[in-house]
């Protein structure tokens, strides 16, 4: 009996003791998306980040921004590149210790959109027919935001719809098989397979006119930010260098397409909907532009955005 008690106490004690010695980062772990091209993929391909940060940089691909937050909370990821703003907002609302340090890109509905199937015959004009039908939406992501906003524009009540939680790849498959009449999705390949049997509910221009715009951001864990401010700065700087190179038309598209696992033509198509901001524009967006309006619109707790790492 004594042994049992001492074992139990020992285990409790071991649980309570939390290893608290921090080690300087010997490796930086970055999360990113496939099928979501950005100029800095070229630097990733050429291992330029490792050189710029002075330590090895490990890139891990994710399927949605929610999973990125999960991994950051579990301590497996230090920096999330191009996390959607929606997952970020949900995370900081749930008091996750992460911060926004940069805007990865702004995009119109080119990159994230809702597609209705041709079979259903539903278009913008008769969108209220969506009520009572099944729609696939990756909940908690930017696509959910696009879905909500699009429904407001076309005048359909999302509460009356059967919203099914599905990742973009599955949503596209469900649209093809006719299980859902509309799928909201992101990612070039998913949109391509969805538009093969359907049409975009709102064209890119209509969406832009309706004020729907997506913003992807760069978020870091607070711990990493406090520990290695230099690395965060280097990361942001190199990313902006890559964006600059892309704006000047000097990017190596082959390297980018290889890392994003897309064909060059498809990638160009997706990239055409993206806007990579200059450092100046980024600062403006974060302080009083699109990003700050977006955050305010969703009652995001203040003080999680910092511009001090921008070049």
């Amino acid at each position: 009996m004594k042994k049992i008690i001492s074992t139990v106490l020992g285990i409790l004690f071991a649980f309570t003791l939390n290893a608290s010695v921090a080690n300087a980062a010997s490796e930086v772990r970055v999360a990113y998306f496939l099928e979501w091209p950005s100029p800095n993929l070229e630097d990733m391909n050429k291992k330029a980040y490792s050189k710029a940060l002075g330590v090895p940089v490990k890139w891990t691909n994710f399927t949605n921004g929610v999973a990125m937050t999960d991994a950051m909370l579990a301590g497996d990821i230090d920096i999330s590149y191009s996390q959607g703003l929606m997952p970020y907002i949900n995370a900081v609302k749930a008091k996750a210790p992460i911060s926004l340090v940069d805007v990865a890109m702004e995009y119109g509905m080119g990159g994230t959109t809702c597609v209705t199937s041709n079979k259903s015959g539903i278009t913008k004009a008769n969108a209220s027919e969506l009520e009572g039908k099944k729609v696939a939406v990756p909940l908690g992501t930017m696509a959910e935001y696009v879905f909500t906003e699009s429904m407001k524009i076309v005048g359909a009540d999302r509460k009356k719809m059967d919203v099914i939680a599905m990742d973009p790849e599955e949503g596209a498959a469900a649209l093809v098989s006719g299980d859902v009449v509309m799928a909201c999705l992101f990612g070039g390949n998913s949109i391509k397979s969805a538009t093969s049997v359907g049409k975009r509910l709102l064209t890119v221009d209509e969406a832009r006119a309706g004020g729907i715009m997506g913003i992807d951001i760069v978020s870091v864990t607070n711990k990493f930010m406090k520990e290695n401010p230099g690395m965060v700065k280097s990361f942001v700087e190199l990313t902006h260098e890559a964006n600059e190179r892309y704006r000047n038309g000097k990017s190596d598209l082959k390297a980018m397409s290889k890392e994003s696992e897309m064909k060059v033509a498809d990638m160009k198509d997706t990239l055409s909907g993206f806007k990579f901001l200059t450092p100046k524009e980024t600062k403006k967006s974060m302080k009083r532009g699109n990003l700050s309006k977006f955050l305010k619109g969703f009652d995001t707790p203040r003080g999680t955005v910092t511009t001090k790492f921008l070049p």
Partner: protein, 636 residues
């Protein structure tokens, strides 16, 4: 209040039952030796110990004990967290949190990086020797810039005095901090603060909505908390000031300026920025700039400052007093930390919700008006019996009747004829009486499992018996069954869902596949396990084939079949949740999947409990059925 009472109750239950158990062992020693099965019988007191221990661990690691005994501790720890947060970036610079001074480790890694580039340049044959000399010159210049930063004699007087000022500020703060009247709050401010704190509420998750808004109030409620918050504000200013500070003396600045210009000139002679020589130069420049950005100081310059930070750290720890012990003892594996605008639980308290919060949230979700995503957990709705009629009767009955469906007339009216009346009857489009039927997430999950199981039994049991009795059937079906049986059911999920769709059909079919193989195997084992003597006895009494099957073989295999059902039930639950993860609009798995996306840990745990409970109910029911219907089990 209730939590505190329960904590004591569990604690004393454990002690009482352990004492009782020991007493029982002593009295038993005489007649029951080790190995006697009598010794494993009974033992309700150990059940109490087991479950109390489990609940106590839950209460402890979810920090519910801390919440009920020290409801204000989270708020105070939040203020302490603010101080720690503002100290953190300063601490990382010194060997307080790290093993080395930040300057030391930066110099170490950057020297290594420079050597690495040097080696690469040396090896490559794509750079001509002229450029190589230039590149090596850049590297040496970068290397030479480091001693300029670490030389005490070169340190600017201005920088020196600034460091002194910052150190004084920290020392000053330490002095003020230990005084009891710090931070001199005026009575009006105090009233304002207490009002605001009251508005913010207490430490708990929301019990009026599924979403949690404020879990830990961040406005200090106590004097002690206020002290820490005030110190955190001052420390933030100090650390910002320090981070603006760089040890850039004239020599260093001019060297760096020079280097930057040289590299720029050097790179401008290449057409493309991607040229290998040019990119080498770029990499060297990157390192030089990293050194520029890092706060590198001479080795002993920051000694005083380090001392002052350590002193403050000691003072703030002392000032925490009893709170420190609450933190260590009642906040196991984690604590409250502050990050940006809010405080949060980090550690087990984050992902293990408090029992009190979980119960509150469960009660909230059980309310059919709230539910989850507008669908109740489990409730009833009134459904017309006509729907059932419409479901059973096939619609084509109306189509094959002679005549045509009515067409509207000139007045725009539609007059129903016999054919259209039949159609509305077979499609259930009429009114009868209404009956209540269950609905909601739990019911949907339950129904899917039940249907999959029943379908598996209906197909699997006869097939299994047939395979156990017939050579053809055994040979014909065996390869098919044996091939698909060992595949984990989840491996089928993506395929089944894309073939049969995301509706109930796909999910039920998946569960059918799970239960079918188990039922076939168990029915077959039961059939082939029948004792030959019993069959012979029945045969000699003149039983027909059907009678032998019905009265000998089937009852004999029933125990195996029912055990199979129990196993299949467990497997079905496991598969169902994963299938609902993939695509769903209702069901317990769907609830969990969505809750995960919004970090609603209480909801996640509620779904886990629901699934545990449902599995248990299923299992107990089947066990009872077995006991009732086949008393011969284990006796044949």
């Amino acid at each position: 209040m209730i939590t505190a009472f329960l904590t004591f109750l569990f604690f004393f239950a454990i002690i009482g039952c352990i004492l009782y158990g020991r007493k029982l062992i002593r009295t038993e020693k005489i007649d029951a030796v080790f190995g006697n099965p009598e010794r494993a019988k009974g033992g309700v007191h150990w059940v109490i110990v087991g479950s109390s221990f489990l609940l106590l661990v839950w209460l402890y690691y979810s920090w519910d004990i801390a919440k009920s005994f020290f409801p204000r501790s989270a708020n105070e720890l939040c203020q302490v967290g603010k101080v720690n947060e503002s100290l953190l970036s300063l601490k990382y610079l010194f060997p307080i949190k790290e093993r080395q001074l930040k300057s030391t480790s930066v110099i170490k890694t950057e020297t290594e990086n420079l050597n690495k580039i040097l080696l690469e340049i040396d090896k490559t044959d794509k750079v001509n020797s002229q450029d190589k000399v230039k590149l090596i010159n850049f590297i040496n210049k970068t290397k030479n810039s480091i001693p300029l930063l670490t030389n005490e004699n070169l340190l600017n007087n201005e920088t020196k005095s600034k460091i002194g000022i910052i150190t004084d500020k920290i020392n000053n703060l330490t002095d003020k901090f230990t005084r009891s009247d710090y931070p001199n709050e005026s009575p009006e401010e105090e009233i304002k603060r207490i009002d605001a704190a009251k508005k913010e509420g207490n430490w708990s998750s929301s019990s009026t909505s599924i979403e949690n808004t404020i879990e830990i109030p961040s406005i200090p409620k106590t004097k002690r908390g206020l002290k820490f918050q005030a110190a955190a504000v001052e420390l933030n200013a100090i650390s910002d000031e320090f981070f603006e500070l760089r040890n850039h003396n004239e020599q260093y600045s001019s060297l760096l300026e020079n280097l930057k210009k040289e590299i720029k000139d050097f790179r401008s002679q290449f057409d493309s920025a991607e040229d290998i020589t040019s990119s080498f130069a770029k990499d060297i420049l990157k390192i030089a700039r990293r050194i520029e950005y890092a706060s590198i100081f001479p080795p002993n310059t920051l000694k005083d400052m380090q001392g002052s930070i350590e002193n403050f750290d000691k003072a703030q720890k002392k000032e925490q007093g009893g709170l420190r012990w609450v933190d260590i003892l009642l906040f196991p594996s984690g604590t409250i930390i502050s990050s940006g605008p809010s405080c949060s639980e980090q550690g087990s308290g984050r992902w293990l919700p408090k029992p009190s919060d979980t119960v509150n949230k469960f009660a909230l979700m059980l309310n059919p008006k709230v539910g989850f995503k507008q669908i109740p957990l489990i409730w009833y709705e009134m459904m017309d019996v006509s729907k059932i009629v419409g479901f059973i009767l096939p619609d084509w009955i109306a189509d094959i009747l002679p005549g045509e469906y009515p067409v509207h007339n000139e007045k725009g009216e539609v007059k129903p004829n016999f054919k259209s009346k039949v159609l509305s009857f077979v499609t259930g489009d009429f009114k009868l009486f209404k009956i209540p039927i269950p609905t909601g997430h739990i019911w949907d999950s339950f129904l899917r499992v039940f249907l999959g199981l029943v379908a598996g039994i209906i197909v699997g049991v006869p097939l299994g018996l047939f395979m156990g009795l017939n050579r053809f059937a055994k040979g014909f079906f065996d390869p098919l069954i044996e091939l698909y049986r060992p595949v984990p059911p989840l491996a089928w999920a993506p395929l089944v869902i894309s073939v049969l769709g995301i509706d109930n059909l796909g999910k039920v079919f998946l569960l059918f596949m799970v239960s079918l193989s188990i039922m076939i195997i168990s029915a077959r084992a039961g059939a082939s396990g029948t004792q030959l003597s019993k069959i012979h006895a029945a045969h000699s009494l003149g039983a027909s084939r059907w009678q032998i099957l019905r009265h000998v073989i089937f009852p004999n295999s029933l125990p195996e079949i029912l055990t199979g059902i129990r196993v299949a039930t467990g497997m079905c639950w496991g598969t169902l949740v994963a299938a609902e993860f993939l695509a769903g609009t209702t069901g317990v798995g769907f609830v969990e999947n969505v809750a995960k996306k919004y970090f609603q840990y209480e909801v996640i745990w509620i779904t886990i409990f629901i699934m545990g409970m449902l599995g248990l109910i299923f299992d107990i029911t089947i066990r009872k059925i077995i006991d009732k219907t086949i008393p011969w089990r284990g006796k044949g």
